[in-house]
Symmetry: C2
Subunit: 230 residues, 2 copies
Amino acid sequence: MSTSGAASPPEQPAVFTRIRLADRRDVPNIHRLIHQMAEFELLTDLFSATESSLSSTLFPSPPLLPFHSFTVLILEISQSPIHNAAEDDSDLGFRPLTRRIALKSVFADPEASIFASPRGDGLVVAGFLLCFPNYSSFMGRPGIYVEDIFVRESWRRLGMGKMMLAAVAREAARMGCGRVEWCVLDWNKNAIAFYEGMGAEVLPQWRICRLTGEELSKYAVDEEDSAGRP
Amino acid sequence: MSTSGAASPPEQPAVFTRIRLADRRDVPNIHRLIHQMAEFELLTDLFSATESSLSSTLFPSPPLLPFHSFTVLILEISQSPIHNAAEDDSDLGFRPLTRRIALKSVFADPEASIFASPRGDGLVVAGFLLCFPNYSSFMGRPGIYVEDIFVRESWRRLGMGKMMLAAVAREAARMGCGRVEWCVLDWNKNAIAFYEGMGAEVLPQWRICRLTGEELSKYAVDEEDSAGRP
């Protein structure tokens, strides 16, 4: 005879997620995530970020106002429900978003210890998003540009990328922004289908022009001012 | 017998240009220029900017720091050398650039009176550039994104667009930015050749994704928070 009465149903495996603003303590994880992203995009030759450069440009003192300058969101996961600490409801104005995601089965994250969250509590960093304001002159309104959206391999195909992008879209809509934009590689058909499913349009005709490296440095030198200066 | 001695050589026709920071007084001209740009790009259906929206987003009080937020440069032309007033060497940190451009012949600008500069002195506004900071996570450094670069029809093919873009590239290089980026329509072969001539690379594989209008508004509504909030 069972002492627990009727057998309880088997518990559905789940993972708990949180999306919160990054701070300076997240820099080592952000640096590792950016490197993984460069590997995924086969662009490691362009990778030159250091923890120091990320720290000084993304997390200066006083901190940048979220969504009004460079903004990093961190995606954390946990095996148990995540309770926000007081510091998470800061004056910076982005309240962390928590969710429970049902899993078909429990699986291992071989990088869990490398990506331990600086917030402790067994939290593990699973991804990030980096965005900043842009501007539509045709609309006469600011927008938000998402430079990066990345989820580590163990946690893909669970809707976490969409959660981060939706969090930005929510902020943009509430702030009265005209649009949210980002880029995708034309061979990444899965990503394109995913973004179109979110309501985005992929613009076929625009191409990015980039001036960088030595070609950019050349412009630091003043040309002769043929009209003379006062 | 001539009283002036030897005949002086015929004077080469020329126009004098200035690139300076825009301020709130430039809004009516900026609005007209953006509309002309929308006509040129066959995109007037996307044009919804008003003088009021441009004024509040581009020229708030206190003013935005140039090249650290939304920044508008104004291109002015004059028949005589342009002398910068004291207000042009302001604390905002962008010293106006003046040039003399030789012309093959003198020609009329039928829109000169519509585009009179608010700075007076017979100056006429011939174009503008709008840019703002972006960020390269691979480099761990900010860059500058040029959203618009536009010269009115009368003043094209004289190198004025290049002058404005070079002015931004100079600022970017001096600020330690990793790159300057902008977009071009893939059918605009003249523009592509022009940008490549300036040292830029056109990236073939990236496409812009855009979430706007009703599709964006949908995200303003909070989804249920299945994990509950504290």
